[in-house]
């Protein structure tokens, strides 16, 4: 299996390369009001409006200013039964690598600082660990519930 790897806060993550569409540079993002912070907003991807999430915030990491290597990985994600195109902002995109079944271990229950639901497994290569993400889960329906929760808070005039 082939994986695309990228870095977030020093850790290396991987997603199935078949899930990815393209990698684009960070561009102007329009914030959608009343949505949670990790949902950065929408971008114009060759005429299509594509939502982008900040994976750092999504995974509870600290927000940092975008740098030279900050990129958006555009992926096909299943939300419910529908295929949606979504962008994920990451610190930097690393490489595409091949991993055998034997190089993938089940996700550990603790110690990853992440919701284990999001993790498909751990890849190991040259003594280095990769967190292989179940990207559909990351964008699962719970997230939409969070959006709704944000929308239901009354906006009280300040």
């Amino acid at each position: 299996m082939e994986f695309l790897t990228f870095k977030l806060d020093g850790d290396e993550f991987a997603v199935d390369v078949l899930k990815t569409r393209e990698i684009v540079d960070l561009r102007s993002v329009t914030k959608v009001p009343q949505s949670p912070d990790f949902m950065l907003g929408v971008i114009n991807l060759r005429g299509s409006v594509v939502p982008v999430i900040d994976l750092r915030l999504k995974f509870g990491m600290e927000k940092v200013d975008a740098g030279q290597s900050t990129s958006i990985v555009v992926m096909d994600v299943l939300v419910g039964a529908e295929k949606v195109i979504v962008g994920a902002m990451v610190d930097s995109v690393e490489e595409v690598m091949e991993l055998d079944e034997s190089q993938i271990e089940p996700a550990p229950r603790i110690g990853t600082r992440l919701n284990t639901e999001f993790i498909k497994g751990m890849g190991k290569q040259d003594e280095q660990f990769l967190i292989i993400l179940d990207i559909d889960r990351v964008f699962s329906t719970d997230e939409l519930a969070m959006v709704q929760g944000a929308a239901e808070q009354p906006a009280v005039a300040e």
Partner: protein
């Protein structure tokens, strides 16, 4: 093409034919003797059978064959159209539809039901010994023998002594009428004064306009025994008249062609003619008689009918295109509009006349193309009306009510997506009208109304909108029942003063239903709120008015298309938003002083009227301070005038609507996004939910004060 594609094409065609069949059958129920309709029903059945057989759907083919056989008999006049026949055939149509679904992955049809239906259909046929086998061959022959229709003007002036020879002109005219559609006008201008009249002589002559598929020789055959000594003119109504522009050939030309009027006379009268109708003038001038004029008018009407028929044929000679292809075309034109906006913006910043000219040209072409492409997606709404006829028929039978559906404006065109998504809400409204609106026949009788209730369904264009109306002449909405219901549901407290309009609009609140018991038809928890949601999602609005005892009217206002709208681009805290221009009334400046003089209340005076406004900055919790002078966009939302305070109004913007998608589906107050000329994304505001939320928040605030 692969087999699957054939099957898909077959399915699409058959669905179309089945709806045609349904329409035909319902028409037959009203006019059981309409030969045209019988022919149409028969042909639909025949085509379904044929193509099903070809593609190997034998079950459909065999079953349809049985139904067709019965209609073959009806067509040949051997069996009258009865209510039972229509019922059975409608049921058969449903079975064919089920079989079709099954073949393409649906549930299978109980063969027993199909057999029972076939048996019942056969039972209608008086002597049906094996006629089915012959029937098909005959039917095929009949179909192939159909040729083009032509229209003739026949003048038949029999010799005065025709009665002496024992010939009845009436018989000849009757024979003629059997050849096709026939209009006969008797000419009385040679009847003498009564004292000179010989009762044994024939003074009449006739003009006949005949539309037939037979040729001229066949017409001569009718007059074969009298032709030698009578005056017989058979004049094909020629292509020139059909081809002429305007409504069915000019009257003067027809009269001249008949020799009833000379060209000179025509010119003379035409010059004298001011505004009144030429026909009347000609009669007044004494150059033609009233009856001659009638003939010409008949010809004119017939030519018009022929022309319409021909246009109908031309319309159906269309290409079938998968709607996905059109969708991608709409997406592409959307992108083109965006790129064009960029080009215009860039060229405007450069002092280059050549570039400017090109940009303008591209703009013009883009707009034209946009209009054409959006137009391709427009379909007459009548395609959905026909299925409602069946709905009304079945529902009123089920509920023991008498109802008829009257439709108007079936030709009104709407975007295909809108039509597709409009089906369910309309079905719901019609169900509701029959179930809750119309009274039982006894009650109606007592109230002095006709026992049969009427549901009116109409569609009309109004600017960039289409207005749909579902109206019934039933009992109207019981306001007291609504008030009670609203109180029991906690939607209303007893002290609250409510206007009739406010009260009536409560039926759109979630979970609202005034009928005590739940019927099998409506009131199963799926209420008007679902209808309202569906209409809202189409960026439309729905309103209801009701007069107790007289009936209820639901009015739906819908945008013509969902793809591209005219928008007003505004800016708040550096972010750009688009308001739908159709809702915008005007823009007004708001200074700090204005705010202070209104005691910091969000109210603004617009030419003497006080209009509430909401600040987008606060609504969307955007940072930064508003400028000294803000702009308030006054718009219409939820039936009232509401202002939206923004930092700047940038201007009009052709807005290609892009969905925000699954990820943002629960965000209220936004209906989508659009891409601006500089490539950035702006959000499109959905005004009614914004106002609703603001109202809800205000309620929370005031409640916490108490």
């Amino acid at each position: 093409m692969t087999m699957d594609q054939y099957a898909e094409t077959f399915r699409e065609e058959t669905l179309e034919l089945l709806s045609e069949l349904e329409v035909g059958l319902l028409e037959l129920e009203q006019n059981p003797e309409d030969v045209d309709v019988i022919g149409r029903v028969f042909r639909a059945l025949h085509t379904v059978k044929g193509s099903a057989g070809m593609i190997g759907f034998d079950e459909i083919s065999q079953f349809t064959h049985e139904v067709e056989t019965v209609f073959e008999l009806v067509r040949s006049g051997g069996l009258p159209v009865t209510g039972e026949l229509v019922n059975l055939t409608l049921a058969a149509r449903d079975i064919i539809k089920e079989m079709l679904d099954k073949n393409l992955g649906g549930e299978s049809v109980d063969p027993e039901i199909a057999d029972q239906l076939v048996a019942a259909l056969r039972g209608l046929v008086p002597t049906q010994d094996d006629f089915s086998a012959n029937g098909v061959a005959e039917a095929e022959e009949l179909i192939t023998s159909e040729s083009e229709e032509a229209t003739y003007h026949i003048r038949f002036r029999p010799p005065a002594n025709i009665f002496h020879r024992g010939i009845q002109p009436q018989g000849l005219l009757q024979e003629l009428s059997r050849l096709g559609t026939c209009r006969v006008i008797a000419q009385t201008d040679s009847i003498p004064r009564l004292d000179e009249l010989d009762a044994e002589l024939c003074y009449l002559y006739w003009d006949i306009i005949l539309t037939t598929e037979h040729d001229e020789d066949r017409i001569h055959d009718v007059f074969i025994f009298v032709e030698d000594d009578c005056e017989l003119k058979i004049l094909p109504i020629n292509e020139d008249l059909l081809a002429q522009s305007g409504e069915g050939g000019r009257l003067g030309d027809i009269l001249v062609q008949h020799g009833d009027l000379s060209r000179d006379d025509l010119e003379r009268v035409l010059q004298a003619q001011n505004k009144p109708k030429l026909g009347e003038v000609l009669v007044q001038a004494g150059v033609v008689t009233g009856a001659q004029l009638d003939v010409a008018l008949e010809v004119q009407a017939e030519v018009k009918r022929q022309k319409q028929k021909r246009e109908a044929v031309e319309e159906s000679s269309s290409i079938r295109v998968r709607s996905e292809k059109l969708d991608s075309l709409v997406d592409l034109i959307g992108e083109l509009v965006t790129v064009q906006a960029r080009l215009s913006q860039t060229s405007a910043g450069q002092d280059d006349p050549v570039l400017n000219e090109i940009a303008e040209e591209v703009e013009r072409l883009t707009w034209e193309m946009r209009d054409h492409i959006l137009n391709i997606r427009m379909l007459p709404i009548g395609t959905t009306f026909s299925s409602f006829q069946r709905l009304v028929r079945d529902l009123s039978q089920e509920l023991g009510k008498e109802a008829v559906l009257v439709t108007a404006g079936a030709e009104t065109e709407l975007d295909k997506t809108v039509i597709d998504r409009l089906g369910d809400p309309l079905v719901h409204l019609i169900r509701n009208s029959i179930d809750h609106g119309l009274e039982s026949p006894e009650v109606r009788h007592k109230a002095g109304k006709p026992e049969q209730g009427t549901i009116f369904l109409s569609a009309t264009h109004s600017g960039a909108n289409v207005i749909l109306e579902v109206r019934d002449d039933g009992g109207g909405i019981n306001l007291n029942a609504i008030r009670e219901r609203a109180k029991s549901r906690g939607l209303l407290t007893s002290e609250m003063e409510t206007s009739e309009a406010e009260l009536i609009n409560l039926i759109f609140s979630p979970g609202f239903s005034t009928v005590g018991e739940v019927s099998s038809v409506s009131g199963r928890g799926v209420g008007m709120d679902v209808v309202k949601q569906a209409i809202d999602s189409l960026r439309g609005s729905i309103a209801v008015t009701s007069v107790e005892g007289k009936g209820t009217t639901f009015t739906i206002k819908l945008p013509l298309t969902l793809a591209i709208i005219d928008g007003l681009l505004v800016q708040v805290a550096g972010e750009k938003f688009v308001l739908p221009l159709s809702a915008v009334e005007e823009c007004i400046e708001l200074s700090r002083q204005d705010v202070a003089s209104a005691n910091n209340r969000n109210l603004i005076k617009v030419r003497g009227e006080i209009v509430p406004y909401l600040r987008l900055r606060e609504r969307f919790r955007l940072n930064g301070k508003p400028p000294e002078i803000e702009q308030v966009v006054i718009a219409e939302a939820m039936g009232q005038r509401v202002g939206f305070a923004v930092d700047h109004v940038i201007g009009e913007h052709q807005t290609v609507i892009k969905a925000l998608g699954q990820m943002y589906r629960d965000i209220k107050g936004l209906s989508g996004a659009t891409i601006l000329g500089d490539g950035t994304v702006a959000l499109i505001l959905d005004l009614p939910p914004l106002v609703q939320e603001a109202e809800a928040d205000e309620r929370i605030l005031t409640d916490s004060v108490h």
